[in-house]
Symmetry: C2
Subunit: 444 residues, 2 copies
């Protein structure tokens, strides 16, 4: 058991993570810029400090869970009161915030330049939400020098339990996995609103929509997680829209720096930006549906107990399910292609995402075919085009916008144009093949 942990950043995630450590018997000194949080933290059994410098004093382990890479840079290197001014010799620093992949190597470089090559540094972004943060079962993606990861392991296991993954590739590799995961998290959050807004615009009973869609091939972890907050009046901010906006911004910046096209991620980013422009930034991301239904943002809620027949609703929900399936399959291909492009090991990447918030039915079902190169899907690219077309034409009748589904259709059309129309649907991944050949070779 580590004797003392310094914990910087006690937001929705960090507070749960730090109090979980306290419950497990660790002495934790917490820090946050927002004073009321610190009081709550002391009530929960923690100690508090008023600067990063004071927080990390004498702590063999330091966890950063502030909101952004920029905040980490400031909390670590601020010349007045930064952690660097008091970091214990040989301390292990665990960076859990989600930032761009290049930020953890940048922290290493600065530490070394300031004569602190004695500090062990671990890149350890997390995923799983506030509940798993509080009970110590977060997914953690740990990367860095082996000696650093080993020193950090006991702390990481207190926060992750059996959900700790060690990612090969050095500092930044964990963050790359998180980035690829967020491709899917972002697209699925946005698609949840696109899909439910469409169902509502067709007048479907939205409670039934949830029941039908979650048990079909169009479902996703995000869909099942967010829907309950759309069907009742609930102003709780489980995850503010600004968080996924930040994360998808890291994704598209990653695509730009890798010179890699990310059509669905980019479309998602624009819809999310539309949400910010409409003033939805501080509220829960399940309310993004307001961007799709600007004149009646509460329509999904209003229709939660609408008097409709199951037969009528199910006919309409077929259109919605087809859109979700098509978008989720293309998203799986976009995410896995980016992962390979940035040097990640695709089988581990698949395992991690399949067990985390980025999964969808289509991701879990189709991605293994990409990995082993055996395309066993009985649906073809042209079949998906036919399904997407049918649903998009239905939406067009009422001029309902389908930013993601429209983009997904173009990706399948492009795959078909390149000669993959009669191939199994996972061949949409060929859109991301570069001049130097396929990212996912097909076996036999």
């Amino acid at each position: 058991m580590p004797e003392k942990i310094a914990f910087l950043g006690l937001g929705a995630m960090g507070f749960g993570m730090a109090t979980n450590l306290i419950k497990k018997g660790v002495s934790v000194t917490g820090y946050d810029v927002w004073a009321p949080t610190l009081e709550r933290f002391v009530s929960a059994g923690g100690s508090s400090a008023t600067t990063p410098k004071e927080t990390v004093k004498d702590a063999p382990f330091v966890v950063f869970m502030v909101a952004t890479a920029t905040q980490i840079m400031d909390a670590m290197f601020n010349e007045e009161n930064g952690a660097i001014l008091a970091l214990a010799k040989g301390a292990t620093v665990i960076l859990c915030s989600t930032g761009p992949p290049e930020y953890t190597p940048a922290v290493r470089k600065l530490l070394n330049e300031k004569g602190r090559s004695d500090v062990f540094l671990v890149d350890a972004p997390v995923s799983g939400g506030t509940i798993r943060a509080a009970n110590g079962t977060l997914t953690i993606l740990a990367a860095g020098e082996e000696s650093a990861v080993e020193k950090a392991r006991e702390v990481l296991e207190l926060m992750a339990g059996s959900n700790l993954f060690t990612i090969p590739g050095g500092l930044g590799a964990g963050t790359k996995v998180k980035m690829v995961h967020q491709v899917l998290a972002g697209i699925h959050i946005c698609m949840t609103s696109e899909a439910m807004g469409f169902a509502a615009a067709m007048g479907v009973n939205t409670t039934r929509a949830f029941e039908v869609l979650k048990s079909g091939e169009g479902t996703s972890w995000m869909f099942e997680n967010r829907l309950p907050h759309m069907l009742v009046e609930d102003k709780t901010v489980y995850s503010a829209l600004t968080i996924i906006v930040k994360d998808i911004g890291i994704v598209t910046a990653g695509g730009r720096s890798a010179g890699f096209p990310l059509f669905l991620s980019s479309a998602t980013e624009q819809v999310l930006a539309g949400g910010i422009m409409a003033g939805l930034g501080p509220i829960d991301d399940a309310q993004l549906v307001g961007v799709y239904l600007p004149k009646d943002p509460k329509l999904v809620l209003k229709l939660a107990s609408a008097s409709t027949t199951a037969e009528d609703d199910e006919k309409k929900l077929k259109f919605v399910a087809q859109l979700m399936k098509g978008v989720h399959l293309a998203a799986a291909a976009e995410a896995m292609s980016l992962g390979v492009k940035v040097g990640l090991e695709p089988k581990q990447l698949y395992t991690i995402i399949a067990g985390a918030a980025g999964n969808s039915f289509m991701f879990k079902e189709r991605t293994p075919q990409l990995l082993d190169g055996k395309w066993t899907s009985t649906k073809t690219v042209d079949d998906v085009i036919a399904e997407l077309t049918e649903s998009i034409e239905e939406a067009n009748k009422m001029r309902y916008p389908l930013h993601l589904a429209g983009t997904a259709l173009q990706l399948f059309e492009l795959a078909s144009l390149r000669g993959f129309g009669k191939e199994p649907d996972v061949a949409v991944s060929r859109v991301w093949d570069g001049a130097d050949g396929p990212l996912f070779p097909r076996s036999s």
Copy 2:
């Protein structure tokens, strides 16, 4: 001079076209479902009729300028009072409405089935706006059997003057040219709002933005035409949003039926659908900027005389110009690729669009390079990526949505991924190359 013309559909365009014919000395019988228009038409020297059947009686020429192909079908074939019930033997029917390319052959087939193979039928969609409609200088894209086009020529010339083009390829070919033209018209209308919304969000004096942008490489016909209506309080509906929504719907349906990806057209369709959802359908399409600035739809107008310095504004407008250039170049490639895919002759297509409302600086400058295969542009695909990236990152700072520019970046990234990064920027067209080779072969 034709002795009598029956004219069905006296909307904003049709009224001008029909009264132009009257001014040139033709006897015109007009028809419209909206009675007040008919009264105005009689005041302007026309005759009026109350049904399509009555309208076409004894008329050697019949012009249809109703809003949609569906309306044409009804006005022509309605069993109670359709034109077919009174169409003169050997009459020449000129279809000027914009519909999907397959509708004019469908009219021909139905006429034949009803024993009216004596009727000469011309596919003759128009472009150019209400002013050119009223002074007889519309661009008209005439196609059909040679005998039909020849019989119609004197009427077409009264409406088009020297802007009459004869399109090879039979019935539907004129409509295909119009469809390709509308790819550009639609994207440029949407980009005008995306660009000006961005300029306004940065706080630029929008009158200066217009002056600076229209004289640069990012300009387009639509930009120059729409901007004056954004900079003053003007509730006139020059062209209702619903019109371009209908037209871009024809474009994306054309892409789907040709199995051809149209990324920018699809993104445009979704933004326009967002405009419909926000209630902007009946108002002028220059107000689409409200979709980009939902909390302050009048911001472009408010900043028309903002106190800013030219130096500051010009720095910011560089970002906007870069986005417009990139989008317009990718749009030119998307449109010309679709044209070739549907069998149009690209040189004629270029000539028509360059002289019509679908043109942009980039279209006029770069398309000739596609056609003759001599890529002389000194900018590379990677240069465009760098410019788009710089501008998109600027917009990201304020979370301003860039639906079209974001999509355009992915297209250039995809071209680069396929090995065209160091090639001249027109190589973005290679994104649309299919399994059977390039659409635009490169010479030497």
